[in-house]
Symmetry: C2
Subunit: 658 residues, 2 copies
């Protein structure tokens, strides 16, 4: 081992001390990996990455993703030491109510945290999206504005998760050379030695994806070797890099190093004192940061931040048009009057809402420079083509259309990464039933308020012949359970357009639930949908003295309208309520809700999915509380009771009961 | 190309004819892959696999898994031709209501279909479980009873899905030599050439997992070459095999071969006639099976079935003990009085339900020879250790404990495969929040009624410091939306034991939702839980003249009990209802439900998760309609309103309102 500068050695020891002290104070946390990775973090923050602690949101910063999010105390310690707005008190409040230092890093919660990690593999997938976003923006705007690198720390667990395959394979196919993943190869998992369950040849695996692989081996505290490897990973711009770093969990604790228990259990006080003694730190001191260490880090941060000053100067001198283009791109929102540009649908139109949605995307594209549209190998089927756009690739980095391949999970995670990177408004399409494959990333999109539009078509048993494996029945409701995910299930083309208009304004992820089959344009939606959808639900058919409400979503609103007509012929007056978004309706307030669903008026609902959840709104919910069946879609819907006669029957029975 | 026997060539042409005719009749389906793979299927069914069409459930049959389930017409055609109980009328009713030939293969629906496939990657994961089950049973029972091979056809899409990584990596680590995956390398996906999104070196990738790789290349109709490669794949018993077979979608259609459109669109009549003409079939005939072809297949099937006769003879001559052991293993249920052997918990016990569940597993193990217990690297945390058991491996094939690694999705899919293989009662544990990672496999477990116990612990914000990324709030409800999944969230140790007792009898998957934190043993559960849990809900505290019901699940039942005590002190009588399983409660019937939740009695519910869904049972549902927070679990629960005071307040307010 070469000599290490004693001050830098001391810096690393201080980081390791913090990584023990905070979990010990919280009686909870993961110090083992944080300690092992302290030299790597030290090198990244002091010698490699471009960032500015005083401007955590500077667009052209390098992105750092701790995919092994359980080692959060490492990232928090570095953010604090480098001068981000994270205080020593924040470190002391690690994992406590209201603190800026939660158990796992949360984007939007703590300055300097780029993405929310912890569920393994997610950060890896996000980082691929960030590298895509960087390349795309660089391609669109020139490298005066966007020109940076994405760095990831990933663990054995990250690489075992299936999403790592999808994301790595995607990154390889795309040749994302601005991405470096450091694989923390520590041979330890919670249940014991990694080898009890994992025998992959990881370098060969990543080489098979088209990655560059740097096998650094055990670098210990050899900062120069780590620095050289990290910088070497930047040279080949045609391939992402996996850098394999052998570490020892809990290092340099004499008792706990290489022990699986060092992963998720705080050390005891004696072990901490012993380890501090080994490192030459005062064993009795906690949260110890001597002035020389503090100064070293602040000086290093100032040096790294010089890139920000250069960027500011450079971009200020760019011509006005270029700066405007950057700002328009960076906002990632459509410009101007969204509604005015959207297609409208008349009584003779009966497109599937997936087809209507494609028309909306076509209309949005010219006013949305950051609209980035792709699918998991279902572009035509889901209405997620981007007319006239090039497909994203190394040869066409400015391409706004994307082939994700059959990789729903990576598509979602990459979309989250792009949205949180900034400058991209990602839209990703697949069949609704396959939203299940992406659910972990959808959840984190919601938790981190990432502006992603998930287009999920083929939204019910109306899918038809493909059968129950491809017919969602539980997915719409299961998605509604995710806090912060705004779910739209529009009833026709006009509601679809209105849902997109609302989605453009929302600060978080949106689910666009679309039909495979055509559905009539409903009377009234041309005028009412824009406000109605924004409010989540609205009255579509409003006879005087309504006796009953028929409520529905999506293609079943047409069923409710037809049932209302049947009932009207019998002298029963029925109000029809379209409820495209429960989340928006909840947010619209009690008064508005009561205006749509007046207290005392009985409600029958109809939705071609499970009824669980509908009792919130309906006295009698009609739905499909079983899996579907393989047959033409209209047959399946009818046989499973999704038809106007069943709705009318339920309304009559409900009125008779009262 | 070597000469091919003209009759066998004609056989393959007939299969290709059926593969065109059935989608054409249905105006829906995927003939392209089915046509391309006809030679492979022909070889598998006539020369390679051991099976008996007259005994589709013969335990020692080879297992065939069409992971590329969209090519279902290929499998249906072969099942029909080989003499399985699938008629020509069934083929003609392809994808029609009530038919035995749904769009994608469904286990339990069609004889000869082993697992339900279509959602890509699932069959691959199931097959790994089947190979595990085979090895385990062979190890436990000797190869007189179980001694077969698992065959898989997988597509580009299967290999792009993340689950293929998890499952392949697991199979490699386990050295599952009795598994052959044929990779249908056709260079075509729905959106175009595979290369637009996929550039993996698949052979190198699988070699990195420790697989044997056979690159057969383009074999066309060279049946001998295909046979030789398939048989070669069986030789190395230490490694699973990936056999790469280059095919041409839609072959031998002169117009559609190699065209992405041949994937999922029926040909038109002219194209079908042209293709039949090329193949020497009468172009005007549909569903054409000449006698010589029919006879060839029936004779081949009879020859393959000889293995069944040998098995019957061999096992009949085994000693009584061995036969009893086989039968006990094959039932995959506990023997004898389950309830009598379960642990009971008294007033001084307050284990976390995950801890109680571990004790139940310990008690079940001695009477459950097929109980196979593992976790996704969280064995201690989730209570899924199997005391005294060896871990499953090539060296210890009879081991009933399993390290799945950090592979929730593969764990679930493999569990489904094991359950459907027979002879295994698989239990797999992870944190509840990570059930999201496994959801596609959980859904198919439910659709195919696979007897899997999913142990999901750390079931609420009670998780505490790990924070919102690790705190489920929506998962319990999202799981309840899946038809056919029985979800248990037991309130204490006694309910946990009762849930397992019920689970042992259920013909389908079970979710066991367990707490991280300790919770008191509730008064009454020792006597009431066995029947009460079986009924899904029951009255736990039953004062005379109850004014209000407090209903809850899991650890929140204790909160309801405490609230009832608070209210009792004020003279308000509250019934407490524990509702561990909504599915069982629904199934218990309206009369029973009304006995537990009488009409007219107001209900406050409390569950530490989203309230969506609770209006089915409660007037005022208390829950957590947001993500959690990082802090000690008791703090988070209390701050988010899960406490007795909030329940009592809600009850008072509800009574005041009336």
């Amino acid at each position: 081992m070469p000599e290490i500068n004693p001050l830098e050695q001391r810096c690393i020891s201080v980081v390791r001390g913090l990584a023990m002290d905070a979990p010990q104070a919280a009686n909870s946390g993961h110090q083992g990996t944080a300690m092992a990775l302290a030299p790597l973090a030290h090198v990244l923050w002091t010698r490699v990455m471009a960032y500015d602690p005083e401007a955590p949101d500077w667009p052209d910063r390098d992105r750092f993703v701790l995919s092994a999010g359980h080692a959060s105390i490492l990232q928090y310690s570095m953010l604090h030491l480098m001068g981000y707005p994270l205080t020593m008190d924040d470190l002391k409040a690690f994992r406590q109510w209201g603190s800026a230092t939660p158990g796992h890093p949360e984007a939007g919660h703590t300055a300097g945290i780029e993405v929310t990690t912890g569920p393994l593999g997610q950060g890896f997938g996000n980082a691929v999206g960030m590298a895509l976003a960087e390349r795309n923006l660089r391609g669109r705007l020139g490298d005066g504005f966007i020109d940076h690198h994405t760095w990831v720390i990933a663990s054995d667990g990250d690489l075992m998760e299936g999403i790592s395959h999808e994301a790595a394979s995607l990154a390889g196919a795309q040749g994302l050379g601005r991405l470096t993943v450091v694989y923390d190869d520590n041979h330890i998992t919670i249940d014991g030695a990694t080898e009890i369950a994992l025998r992959d040849d990881a370098p060969a695996r990543f080489a098979a994806y088209g990655w560059e692989v740097i096998e650094l081996g055990e670098a210990g505290d050899d900062l120069d070797a780590i620095e050289a490897a990290l910088k070497a990973s930047k040279v080949d711009e045609a391939r992402p890099t996996l850098m394999v770093l052998r570490t020892r969990v809990g290092s340099p604790s004499p008792t706990w190093e290489d022990n699986p228990k060092a992963h998720g259990n705080p050390f005891d006080e004696a072990t901490i004192a012993e380890t501090k003694r080994v490192m030459g730190l005062p064993p009795e001191e906690t949260f110890f940061v001597p002035d020389d260490v503090a100064n070293f880090y602040r000086n290093a941060a100032a040096a790294r931040a010089a890139t920000h000053a250069e960027w500011t100067e450079r971009t200020a001198s760019a011509d006005t048009e270029a700066r405007r283009a950057f700002e328009a791109a960076w906002s990632a929102r459509p410009a101007g009057d969204i509604v005015a540009g959207l297609p409208t649908f008349g009584p003779d139109d009966s497109p599937a809402t997936r087809v209507a949605s494609q028309q909306v995307i076509d209309a949005l594209a010219p006013i949305s420079p950051s609209l980035f549209v792709g699918s998991a190998d279902l572009s035509g089927n889901t209405g997620t083509k981007l007319a006239g756009a090039e497909f994203q690739s190394a040869a066409t980095p400015s391409g706004m259309a994307m082939h994700y391949g059959v990789r729903e999970h990576a598509m979602a995670a990459a979309s989250v990464g792009m949205a949180l990177h900034g400058g991209i408004w990602p839209v990703g399409g697949t069949f609704l039933v396959f939203s299940d494959y992406a659910r972990p990333s959808v959840r984190l999109a919601a938790l981190s308020k990432a502006r992603v539009v998930f287009v999920w078509s083929h939204d019910s048993v109306g899918v038809g012949e493909d059968g129950p494996t491809h017919q969602p029945v539980e997915q719409v409701m299961a998605l509604r359970t995710i806090p912060g995910l705004c779910v739209f299930r529009p009833a026709d083309g006009n509601e679809t357009a209105a849902a997109w208009a609302t989605a453009a304004k929302i600060d978080g992820p949106v689910a666009m639930i679309l039909s495979r089959q055509g559905t009539p344009t409903l009377t009234g939606t041309a005028d009412l949908a824009v406000d109605g959808v924004a409010n989540g639900a609205y009255v579509l058919v409003d006879p005087d003295d309504a006796q009953v409400v028929l409520a529905g979503t999506g293609t079943e609103v047409a069923v409710a309208v037809e049932a209302a007509e049947t009932l009207a012929a019998e002298g029963i007056t029925a109000r029809v309520v379209s409820m495209p978004s429960w989340e928006r309706f909840e947010a619209a307030g009690a008064e508005y809700r009561a205006s749509v669903l007046p207290k005392g008026l009985p409600v029958v609902s109809v939705e071609a999915g499970v009824t669980l959840g509908w009792h919130r709104w309906a006295d009698v919910p009609l739905g499909i509380d079983r899996f579907g069946a393989s047959a033409p879609g209209a047959t399946v819907l009818d046989r499973l009771g999704i038809n106007p006669a069943a709705v009318a029957d339920a309304a009559r029975a409900l009125l008779d009961d009262r």
